[in-house]
């Protein structure tokens, strides 16, 4: 029972990170139709911003804020520079554009900073564990779950109450019509990228806190996972992305916990195979929908 609860919390923490990443991806996809491969590099940028901030003697909490701000800014710039010229192109074109952006950023990190990992000193209090009725829960996991919950709540309020938020939800259902309603497309797109950058920044901090270092390829793997989560949840559906992130994390954590040792090298492959089987049953994803044909 104990191990079960422990694993449940692990899955929740991991799922939170995936959900934040997936939500950012889904937000951008729903307004632009772009699957942003360079999303992971936003996490990496958070890492490097924190690394340089800490190296400059800035205290850890402020470095965290700077890191998240850097990711947000980078996301907005990315849209401005790379994605605006291909805004009206098909999905394949935009996907490849983002793939190229991602590769260029990798190379810049490698050449301008370092190919080797840079350590980010995490404060001691974050490394410990809290003892809760016989269960020891990592501080980082508690932080992950708290941060995810707060962020998702704040985002829900923003999307439901503010004009821009409502415009974003409308845009995720039908962007052309939203534009006809007089909503400024550039504002919606920039906000979508800004939010996706913010979410990636937070996810980056949570990821870094567990790893303690940043390297040029850091963001690649988690974002691949987030892609899978987005498709699993239903491409373009915001709640679907969050759900997909948690489902994927639960599959991963259960496999890690309960798979026989011989099978562990195949863990990743088994996870993805399970997801593809789920998609066989529901090709449009868990919360996806079919569009009407006119």
């Amino acid at each position: 029972m104990e191990i079960f609860v422990q694993q449940f919390i692990n899955a929740l923490a991991l799922g939170g990170t995936y959900a934040l990443l997936a939500l950012g991806l889904a937000m951008v996809f729903s307004v632009l139709g772009l699957i942003n491969f360079a999303h992971g590099e936003l996490m990496t940028i958070t890492g490097y911003a924190m690394f340089f901030a800490i190296a400059a003697g800035i205290p850890f909490p402020i470095a965290v804020i700077l890191g998240i701000a850097a990711a947000t800014l980078a996301a907005i710039l990315m849209e401005r520079i790379a994605f605006r010229p291909v805004r009206d192109a098909n999905t394949a074109t935009m996907l490849l554009t983002s793939f190229a952006v991602s590769t260029i950023l990798h190379m810049l990190f490698q050449n301008l900073i370092s190919a080797r990992p840079k350590a980010i000193p995490v404060p001691d209090w974050m490394i410990g564990a809290i003892n809760l009725g016989g269960l020891s829960i990592g501080v980082i996991q508690v932080m992950s779950i708290t941060a995810t919950t707060l962020l998702l709540l704040a985002l829900t309020v923003f999307l439901r109450r503010s004009i821009l938020g409502i415009a974003m939800r409308a845009a995720s259902l039908d962007f052309p019509v939203t534009r006809l309603m007089g909503i400024n497309a550039n504002a919606v797109i920039a906000t979508a990228f800004g939010i996706s950058g913010l979410l990636a920044g937070v996810a980056g901090v949570l990821w870094l806190a567990q790893r303690g270092s940043v390297d040029p390829l850091m963001g690649f793997l988690p974002v691949l996972k987030a892609f899978i989560a987005v498709v699993l949840g239903g491409l373009g559906s915001l709640p679907g992305a969050v759900l997909g992130g948690f489902v994927l994390a639960f599959i991963e954590v259960s496999l890690r916990a309960f798979l026989p040792d011989d099978w562990l090298p195949f863990r990743e492959s088994i996870t993805l195979t399970l997801v593809i089987i789920l998609l066989l049953v529901r090709p449009e994803g868990l919360l996806g929908r079919k569009d009407a044909v006119r």
């Binding site: 192109a89 999905t91 394949a92 190229a100 498709v231 990743e268 492959s269 998609l279 449009e284």
Partner: protein, 628 residues
């Protein structure tokens, strides 16, 4: 596949590409040093690989990240089977006995068939695996499918690394026999080229390209998009497996990483630079990009050795590839070749090969259809969330009859057409076609039961030529005709609608009115018994809509079709239709001859509202059109 081969263009195009490549490569084989020969061989293998990607991605429009996985899989299978036994004992000690001792040496006419047999085994196994994986992937929509292929790449990589007994994990396989030289590679380039071109130009390929352009419209002419995608996926996977075998026996030493993101990225760049939707483009892209990679690699070495003591600059190649992709996507989005093949660019190739240029042969008299039976819609409802867009509506249509379906905006007319044609799932009720229940049938099967439709927003296959639009429908409806006859049939249909002169134009470049006509010509290729037209006169001026009226009446008279016409142009409806059904809020509120319906107070109320209905008269034909 019998009777499904077409287009002499496929062979002409393959030859136009292959001959110069072969000549230059063979010259290189004679004059170049070993290292350059290696580069050349590698380039030829990359051509095979890019043709594999192109056969799927080019025809389906779905970006694949997964084909490098098939290359890796086949490379590791052929590796495990061909490494000499002494080396197997050292590097793969845990190999099961049957594999360690496997011997595939067979002699035929003094030739050792070992590699041929092993290569074939690898290709067959990988093709079969790909077929199984393709079943879920071919059902996914474009972006989701692309991500699923990405997942596939990671899965297969994980499996290859995890299966240590067979593959040495992430370490390199050593001692795979190297025997691929320029002439051998050329043979396989020729094979891959012919396979890729033949598939693209086959009727299956045409159907798939139609689905790439517009999937709902493709379903509506009978294309089973899932099945076509699965076929393309399997064919392309076999080519990828072939490329993997070639690469294995070219490199001799390779690790699973060789077949991961970097390779995928390089091949995708080749595809994009040349033009994703063109086989010729893929080949030319492979040549250009390989050359570029080679130059960048040399520069990188030069910079690192000449300027610095140790390697300090990384990934110049990757940055170059990325910039190439961005450059192409920003400035020439469809790549160098766009949607064209080399023989189309060369122009006039038909004359070189002594083939006839399109000529419409008049007088292929339309066949009158059987007049028994009816299309019956019984108490159909379609629910979207809480909205009953169509609510307990019934209507029937007989061959030889023109039925008008009118109603205010949002009354459920288009939804009704969607329910009949299978584009939408019906929530309640049934649709009966000449005594067969078609309620649950998918759209492409309903189309093959000879129910055609047009769309409110024109849905042509924009990047295909006009004649290809019609041929796709001929192919998908199961018409079995030889290539030349099919061309004639398509042209005759186009002539009937007055668009035969535009046969070789891209459909998207036609004027609006002509596009509407082409859409009808395409629907007629199904030899429909019933034709559903969604606002055929929308956006037409009076003269154009008069012409349309004549054409539609002509179709009924010459073929005896049953026509269901949705339109807001009441003048057209009143003059054309034998009977009119009026929908309001999803329900049938009136039905009868045009004059009866026009005088019906319920109809007037639905159109004009209660208060105004009391003072106004019926929506007379003379009032002209109501804007949609």
């Amino acid at each position: 596949m019998m009777g499904r081969m077409i287009a002499p263009g496929a062979l002409a195009g393959s030859a136009l590409l292959f001959v110069p490549i072969a000549i230059l490569s063979l010259i290189g084989w004679q004059v170049l040093g070993n290292a350059q020969q290696g580069t050349l061989t590698h380039m030829l293998i990359m051509i095979v690989a890019v043709l594999a990607f192109s056969s799927f991605t080019g025809n389906s429009g779905i970006l694949s990240f997964g084909h490098a996985a098939f290359m890796g899989l086949s490379a590791h299978i052929t590796g495990a089977l061909t490494i000499p036994q002494a080396q197997k004992a050292i590097f793969l000690p845990d190999l099961p006995a049957w594999l360690a001792d496997a011997d595939f040496h067979y002699m035929l006419l003094g030739m050792d068939l070992h590699f041929f047999i092993v290569g074939l085994i690898a290709v067959v196994i990988v093709t079969f695996v790909a077929f199984l994986i393709g079943i879920p992937i071919s059902r996914l929509g474009g972006p989701s499918a692309a991500i699923a292929t990405l997942g596939l790449l990671i899965i297969v990589y994980g499996v290859i690394v995890g299966a240590r007994d067979f593959t040495r994990g992430s370490q390199a396989l050593i001692g795979v026999p190297k025997f691929i030289d320029i002439p051998t590679a050329l043979v396989f380039v020729a094979i891959a080229l012919v396979v890729a071109r033949t598939f693209r130009d086959s009727l299956s390929g045409l159907e798939l390209r139609a689905a790439r352009e517009d999937e709902p419209a493709a379903r509506a002419i009978g294309v089973n998009a899932h099945a076509r995608r699965l076929l393309a996926w399997t064919v392309s996977a076999s080519l990828a497996a072939l490329a993997g075998v070639l690469l294995a026996h070219f490199l001799g030493v390779y690790s699973p990483k060789e077949f991961y993101f970097q390779l995928t990225f390089a091949i995708l760049v080749m595809l994009i630079v040349g033009g994703m939707s063109s086989v010729s483009g893929a080949v030319v892209g492979a040549i250009l990009v390989t050359a570029m990679i080679e130059i960048l690699r040399k520069s990188e070495d030069y910079i690192n050795t000449a300027w610095f003591q140790e390697p300090t600059v990384f990934g110049l190649t990757d940055i170059g590839l990325s910039l190439a992709i961005l450059g192409v996507l920003f400035w020439r989005r469809d790549g160098l070749f766009g949607y064209r093949e080399i023989e189309e660019l060369a122009g006039g190739w038909r004359r070189w090969f002594g083939l006839k240029v399109h000529e419409a042969e008049q007088g292929a008299a339309p066949v009158r259809i059987q007049q028994e039976g009816a299309l019956e819609v019984r108490h159909v409802a379609k629910v979207f969330g809480g909205l009953r867009a169509v609510d307990d509506a019934s209507l029937s249509l007989k061959p030889g009859e023109i039925l008008g379906l009118i109603g205010p905006n949002g009354s459920g007319k288009t939804t009704m057409l969607g329910c009949i044609s299978g584009a939408l799932d019906i929530s309640e009720g049934a649709v009966n076609l000449d005594g067969h229940d078609i309620t649950q049938m998918p759209a492409h099967q309903i189309a093959r039961h000879r129910v055609g439709r047009s769309f409110q927003n024109i849905r042509l296959f924009t990047h295909l030529t006009c004649i290809e639009n019609v041929k796709a429908a001929l192919a998908a409806s199961g018409t079995r005709l030889a290539s030349a006859q099919m061309e004639q049939r398509a042209l005759a249909l186009m002539a009937e609608l007055g668009v035969a002169d535009y046969a070789e134009r891209r459909a998207g470049t036609l004027a609006y009115g002509l596009q509407r006509r082409l859409e009808i010509a395409r629907a007629l290729a199904l030899e429909p018994r019933y034709l559903l037209l969604d606002e055929p006169a929308a956006g037409m001026n009076e003269t154009e809509s008069d012409d349309l009226l004549k054409i539609l009446a002509g179709l009924r008279d010459s073929r005896g079709l049953g026509l269901l016409v949705v339109d807001h142009d009441l003048r057209l409806i009143m003059r054309l239709c034998d009977r009119v059904v009026v929908l309001n809020k999803g329900q049938v509120i009136a039905e009868g001859a045009p004059e009866e319906v026009q005088a019906n107070p319920d109809v007037i109320e639905a159109y004009l509202g209660k208060r105004r209905a009391a003072t106004k008269t019926a929506p007379h034909a003379t009032q002209g059109r109501e804007e949609p």
